[in-house]
Structures are given as C-alpha cells and as structure tokens.
C-alpha cells in the first residue's frame, strides 16, 4: 500500500473532472484519478452541442434558457441552480473558445448556433438556435480541448487508477437548534492501480467526484462499457444519499438494436421521425415544436407508436429517422459522424434511406446531491466539508426529471469549474483529516471476496440478466408490477452475486476482477433507481408510470433521497424497502410556478 498526499484529488477525467482540474491545478496541489485514460472518457461521445444564450444568430437570453431548463425538467429542477447554469453558460462557452475549442462559425466568424430539443424562444413560442457546436463531435472537441489545457497546465494524472472507496470520518456535532448529529468529513480515497494490482491511498483535503454515469444498468444504452456508476455507488455505500435516481433519460434516437447515439442535432438540422405509415407522428404529440420536443416526450411517443403497431421492420420494433429531404452536402458538413455510424453499423445510407432508431438509455438525471457550490450534502442541508461533486455523477439539480439536450455538456463545464475553484479554495485553509486506521481494509475485503470466490456464477451472465430486466421493466413505461418484478430479480441477482468467481487471479491488468466489482455497483444502483421509481406514484419527465399517468404536484413535487440503511425493514412500505430508506427534499423555486407541460 502506498500513501499519497494532495490538497485536491479529483476522481474522474471526463469533462467535469478535467474542467475542475484546470481550475484546481492552478491553485492547489491536485491529482486526477481515472480508471481510463482521460481522452477515453464518455464526454467524448457527446455530439450535438452546448447551449448558451450567446444570441449570435438570433435573439436569445439566459432567462429563456433558464425557463426552458425548468420546464424541460418538468418543474423538478432547482431553479437557483438552473439560473446559475444558464447565466454562466455564456462564459463557459467563451472559456472553451479561448482554450482553443474549434467551434463551427457563422459567416461573420462568430460561434455558430443551432436548434435543439426543448430550447425555445420566449418561453416556448418556437425553437431557438442556442446550441454552440463543432460539427457532430462537440463532446469530442470539449474533451480534447480540456485535456490539451490540462497538458498545458501540467495537471498530474494517475491513469488507470480505479477509485473504490471514499474515506470519511464521523464527528459528533450539534445543529443550531440544539439537536445532535454525526458530521461526516472527508479524508481521501482508495484506488486500485490496474497495471500492478496495488492499492494506493490518496489523502486529500478536498475530494471532487466527477466520475460520470451508470448507463450500463440497462442493456440498450448509448453509454460506454465503463459507465458503471462507481462514484455514485461508492458514495452511497459510505452513507451519502442519492437524489432523484428514478429519473433516467432515454435518448430517442439510438441506432435500433444497438443503442449507439444519433444526435438530436439531426432533428435540430431538420431530420424528422416517421412511423411505418410514413407519418411524421410527432405532429400529434407536440404540435408546436414537433420533433424538437424534449427527449422524454419524443422517446415515449416513439415507444407508443411501436406499441400501437406502427413500428417498422420485420418485428415492427423501431421507427425511422428521416434525413432524406436534407442536402447531402448539408449532412456532410453538420452531421458527418452520426451518418457514418448508420453506414458502419447498420449498413444504411442516410442520404437516401431513413435510419432505424429506438430509445436508448442515455443519462442519469439523479446522483450525489450537491448545492450550487458543488458541495456534497449528507442530508437535505448538511454539507460534507471538503467533498464536492459535478457532472453526471452529481445532482445539483439542474435537470430535474428530464434533462434538455446539450445541458449536460453545459453542466460539466459550469459546475466542473465551480467544483475546481471551490475544492482548491477549501484546501487553502483546511487541515488534512487523519486517515482512518487501516484505510484499505474495506477495499481489500471487496477485492478479496471477488477474487477468491469459487462459486459457479458468472459476472457477465448476471449483468446480462440485470440489463435485460431493466430494459424490459424499468424503461420508458413503468408500472408497480414491472418495478416489483425488477426488485424480485435484483434480489436473486444479489444472492447469485455472492457465488461468483473470476477466472483471472493475477495482479496485472485484472479487468476480470474489475468487472466483478463494477457489477456490484450496477446491482446496488439499479435497486436504488427501481425503489425510487416504485415510490414515485406519479408521472413526471423521464419517469412515466402507466398506473399513475399524471403529474401529482401535491404529493410529489419534491426530490427523492435514497439512503443506504441496512436496518430499513423489508416490509414493502413505500419509505423503506430492504436496505434502502427513502426521504424527500424540497424543490427550490425562484421565478417559475409549475404549469402544465405542453409543447
């Protein structure tokens, strides 16, 4: 075991982590730990753009962007956070341009902007051109630009260091009202060096979680194989709640059968969705902005078309994304990558043939709760000093129950920057928290159990069955029956998980062992998501309950907070289901009263 000491340790080297590192690295001694190489992070797979009310091509302002974000999230958005994001979006884009990001340009040489789902002029009157973009590889360009600037500023990376535990201590503390509580404090993290199999402890004054999402709980997903929710899982296991985990976004246009993402920018540039009758069916579901409605609405509409027998193909199980009315030169200039994906993986020529698409699991709206300073909360109000989170792993909450397209690239830049500044500033005056005795004990156990298991169960098989049941029962349409089915399935997977064995017993690049550990996180998070979904007996944003098809503001205009609690009785009551305790947190309102959400 080796021990390293840094002022700031950042876990994850995608957009949020590297944006934080650029700030923190110039202010404090900073290390970035990633289980990949930085440029492999899934920010690089984002395509369409990053919204900011630059008003370079038409009238726009950040207040409209705030409204769209709040309405897009079906009013579950914390409005103070959405204001921060929409306001700081403008500088976030300009920062990236100054760092070198090659945005597409207008004829005047300014950053060009295009339309995107749910982003509108003057509170919903018509689509607005707000998304700044670099062809259909905006995420790639952001990831590369941030990495380039990390190189420029000599940011210290620990590549292929997989963080497996967060070290915290608890102190007795008393609130202003005289009640006593346990205050968590952060001491550092434990990581596993993939190349050698050795454990490294990183003691730090500040820890920033920026480790991304958990899309691999689903089978059909746009997410990378490595997006297994490690950061959320680690925090949860250490008693930190997870907020709004029932809200998972299904992106409408995944390549049918594969889930590979085709950007919403295709529809922003004029592509439309059609069913087996050749109908532009979004005219029925969102008469004003049609194919540019927010993702939850489009995904549900597509699934509904298929369910009502208007799907395409031999199994009538997908719809079509039609670009055939667009000029090939326009497609080549604005959408080169996604049209190549259609050619490579489906053998379809988008110039002349519509592309088979179906919703694909894309983004976790929920995550580790933070305030707008990116400080992590251990309950509804109490900040954990020195612990920060930003990006998909976090829930600040700017996305509410449904994220608008482009707002994730914005989120990682705005709140990544805030996290980097805040973590470094905190470290300037804070003292190191003493490491717990034997800091690697928990991690050593975790790895030994996985490595030394001799059971007959295979990790890949359990994972496949988990993903199958999540796709079948926790996707676009949900009912109490389907959700209870998932919980029963997960209970049996948890039993089987105790009897796994891994074949690779070595130290060097033991990715077999890694996948076993990742499955542990996936099982834990899938359960949290499903329990929260079962508890939320209403339909809002990305969470649609067929048995409760309406939004119920009276009962459910609040965030859900899931705590790991091994004493929570398994009595099936809504508030406590076998090891998970559910609570709620109020939504922050500033300017907008909830209204009926129509497009």
């Amino acid at each position: 075991m080796q021990v390293h000491k840094y002022d700031v340790v950042i876990v994850g080297a995608g957009g949020a982590g590297m944006r934080a590192a650029i700030e923190s690295g110039q202010r404090a001694r900073t290390a970035v730990l990633t289980k990949l190489y930085p440029t492999r992070s899934h920010t690089g797979a984002a395509q369409g753009g990053m919204c900011a009310a630059l008003a370079n091509v038409e009238e726009d302002n950040w207040e409209w962007h705030t409204f769209d974000t709040v309405k897009g999230g079906d009013y579950l958005v914390d409005q103070d956070a959405a204001e921060v994001m929409a306001k700081e979006a403008i500088d976030a884009v300009l920062d990236l341009e100054k760092m070198g990001l090659p945005f597409n340009r207008t004829p005047e040489g300014r950053i060009d902007q295009r339309r995107f789902g749910g982003h509108t002029r003057d509170h919903g009157k018509a689509p607005v051109r707000r998304a700044c973009y670099a062809a259909d590889r905006t995420g790639h360009m952001i990831l590369q630009t941030l990495y380039q600037n990390c190189v420029k500023h000599n940011v210290e990376f620990y590549n292929e260091y997989y963080v497996l535990d967060l070290l915290t201590v608890e102190e007795d503390a008393v609130r202003e009202d005289g009640t006593s509580y346990k205050q968590k404090r952060v001491a550092g993290v434990v990581s596993y060096d993939l190349a050698t199999g050795e454990l490294h402890v990183f003691q730090a004054k500040s820890v920033v979680f920026a480790s991304g999402g958990a899309g691999k709980v689903f089978k059909t997903t746009s997410n990378a194989h490595t997006l297994t929710g490690d950061g959320m899982g680690i925090a949860f296991r250490r008693g930190i709640p997870l907020e709004d985990m029932e809200f998972f976004q299904f992106h409408p246009t995944g390549l049918a059968g594969l889930g590979i993402l085709l950007s919403e920018a295709a529809r922003g540039e004029g592509a439309i969705l059609r069913n087996s009758e050749g109908e532009r069916f979004m005219e029925r579901y969102a008469p004003t902005i049609k194919d540019l409605a927010p993702r939850d609405i489009v995904a549900r509409s597509m699934a509904n078309e298929v369910r009502e027998g208007r799907g395409c193909g031999p199994n009538k199980d997908y719809v079509l994304l039609d670009l055939t009315h667009l000029e090939p030169a326009h497609i080549d200039a604005k959408l080169p990558d996604i049209t190549e994906f259609a050619r490579t993986y489906l053998g379809v020529e988008p110039y002349t043939e519509p592309v088979p698409v179906f919703p694909t699991a894309h983004y976790a709206m929920g995550g580790i709760p933070t305030n707008i300073e990116t400080e992590v909360l251990q309950d509804n109000e109490t900040v954990i000093p020195g612990l920060f989170a930003a990006g998909e792993v976090a829930c600040v909450s700017v996305h509410g129950s449904n994220r608008l397209g482009t707002n994730s690239l914005l989120d990682i830049n705005v709140f990544g920057k805030r996290a980097g500044v805040a973590a470094a500033e905190y470290a300037k005056t804070a003292q190191f928290v003493e490491l717990p005795e034997n800091p690697t004990a928990y991690t050593t156990d975790l790895l030994d159990i996985a490595r030394n298991g001799t059971g007959e169960e295979k990790v890949a098989q359990i994972r496949k069955e988990l993903q199958d049941t999540m796709d079948a029962n926790m996707q676009v349409f949900r009912t109490a029956d389907t959700l209870n089915q998932v919980l029963r399935d997960i209970a049996s997977f948890e039993e089987r998980y105790k009897r796994i064995s891994v074949q690779d017993k070595g130290k060097r690049f033991n990715l077999d062992l890694l996948e076993a550990v990742e499955l542990g996180f996936l099982l834990e998070l899938a359960k949290v998501m499903t329990v929260a979904a079962l508890h939320r007996e209403e339909s809002r944003g990305g969470h649609f309950r067929e048995d409760f098809p309406d939004r119920d503001d009276e009962k459910f205009m609040k965030h859900s907070m899931a705590y790991k609690d091994d004493h929570a009785p398994a009595d099936g009551t809504a508030e406590s289901i076998a090891g998970i305790r559910l609570a709620t947190k109020p939504v922050v309102f500033t300017r907008y009263e909830p209204m009926v959400r129509k497009y």
């Binding site: 990949l36 190489y37 440029t39 492999r40 899934h42 690089g44 797979a45 100054k98 760092m99 070198g100 945005f103 340009r105 207008t106 004829p107 040489g109 300014r110 062809a135 590889r137 790639h140 360009m141 380039q148 190189v151 420029k152 990378a224 194989h225 594969l258 590979i260 993402l261 087996s276 050749g278 109908e279 532009r280 005219e283 395409c312 193909g313 031999p314 997908y318 079509l320 039609d322 009315h325 667009l326 326009h330 994906f341 490579t344 993986y345 489906l346 053998g347 043939e353 519509p354 592309v355 088979p356 295979k458 074949q503 690779d504 070595g506 130290k507 060097r508 690049f509 033991n510 077999d512």
Partner: protein, 260 residues
C-alpha cells in the same frame, strides 16, 4: 446563416423493406488472439477460439464473448464501443483498426481472424500496450492553443474558411492506430510518429494560434517530420478517416516555406 429548410411532408410513401431487417444471420468465426502475460510466462503465444457470431457483430463483440463466456483472463482495453474513445486499437488480420469499428462480416471469416496488440509500444498483457511513450510524443508538440494577444471579452473571430483549414486533424481520438502502423516508428522509438504530427498540425494551421513557428521547429528535429517515408500506412490505419500523410506533408511544406 444556413438556409431555412422547407417543412417536410406530414406523410410520405415508404419504399418496401425500408430499414432492412429480417433475421440477422449467424456465422462461425475462428479467432486467433496473441496472448502474453509476464506473470505467467515470458513468451507470447497464440490462443484459438471458435465462436458463433451475428452479422451485426464487431471484433470487439467476439473478444467480449471470449472474455465473458470462455476465458475471463483475456485482457484488452475498450470503452465507448463505437469508435470515438480510441481505447481498442489493435492489429486485426495484420492491419491496425479499432475492434469496435470492425464488423466481422467485413473480414474473411473462412480463415482465422488474427488479433494482436498494436506494434512498437511495449506489451503489458495480451492486447494492452504501454501508451506512455505515445502520449509523451503528443505532449512534446505543445498540443494546446497558445495566443499572445490580449484576451477578447467575447470569442475570437475565425472565418469559416480558416476553421475549415484544420478541420480534418481535429478528428483525432489519440488511439495510436496511425503511429503504431508506421514502419519508421517500429524501428525508431524516438520518432514523434504521425499522431503527434497530426496534433501539431491541428494548432499550426489554426488562425488563432501564435506558436506555429515553435512547433515547426520542434518537428524540424531529426526525430521529426523528415523521418516520414510517406508509406501511407497511417492514413490507411486512421479509424477517423484523417488524411494523416497529407497533414504531415503540409507540415513539411510549412517548414520549408516557413509559411503557415
């Protein structure tokens, strides 16, 4: 300003069989993978696997099938699985490619499909190589925007033509397929290699950048662009379709003319 697009029709006649489909065909493949694990033996060996795969499967799917169902110790890097993260460059039937972008049906499945680690970088285990020398060369070309003027309050202006000038080289995903396909790199590990030059090109020809001369000087080094023998392996290997050899030629030309 882009022209407004005419509103598409509410309903069209779809041609028969649109979207393709029908049963996805299956076929058998023989995968021959180069194995090396210094914990077990200093010698590299070949392992053979016989698999039944689907018509839509990629080489990565075949490797996963082996790892998940037959031999969990088979080690390779991968992440996004659709050709944008650059993790899974490997030598497939003697050519550098991304395993996630190479469809099995496009290979000759009547013969064994060989899979080896990319060449010229130290092998760590099976298909995993040490990427550090590759990233070292990348860092040496100063792959970041250097601008000496005052920071404007708004964005710097750049014409669409100036932006187009370096568009091709912004596509690089640092997978190392080009560099590790270069015969010069195989024999001379000091050579910067195509990927570093591509990333220098991306800034040299960016109208916003002021350090082109410094980068040209770096690449004028004896381990720089002049080692390129124009074999075009790199251009053929690039999974992003970057015209790598042309980018190197443009850098050579700029060094000679001292004009960007």
């Amino acid at each position: 300003m882009t022209a407004e697009i005419a509103e598409p029709a509410s309903k069209i006649e779809l041609p028969a069989g649109v979207g393709g489909g029908g049963e996805i065909p299956t076929f058998d493949v023989h995968l021959r993978v180069r194995r090396y694990n210094p914990e077990v033996s200093g010698e590299a060996t070949w392992d053979d696997f016989h698999l039944t795969m689907y018509g839509t499967d990629r080489v990565l799917d075949a490797l996963h099938k082996v790892k998940w169902e037959m031999d969990g110790s088979l080690s390779f890097r991968r992440s996004c699985a659709h050709g944008v993260c650059g993790s899974d460059a490997m030598r497939i039937n003697g050519r550098n490619r991304l395993a996630c972008k190479t469809l099995l049906k496009d290979l000759d499945t009547s013969k064994p499909i060989t899979v080896e680690p990319i060449k010229g970088l130290p092998v760590e285990k099976d298909l995993i190589v040490d990427m550090e020398p590759f990233f070292q060369s990348y860092r040496e070309v100063m792959p970041f925007l250097i601008n000496k003027g005052h920071e404007p309050t708004r964005e710097r202006l750049q014409s669409a033509e100036d932006r187009e000038r370096f568009d091709d080289t912004t596509k690089c995903i640092l997978c190392a397929a080009c560099t590790s396909s270069c015969p010069v790199f195989w024999t001379d590990g000091q050579y910067f290699g195509p990927a570093a030059i591509v990333n220098a090109h991306r800034f040299i020809f960016d109208s916003r950048d002021d350090a082109g001369d410094m980068r040209l000087e770096i690449l004028n080094d004896k381990e720089g662009v002049w080692r390129c023998r124009t074999t075009f392996n790199c251009s053929e290997a690039c999974p992003r379709g970057i015209q790598v050899t042309q980018a190197i030629a443009e850098v050579k030309q700029a060094i000679l003319s001292r004009r960007i």
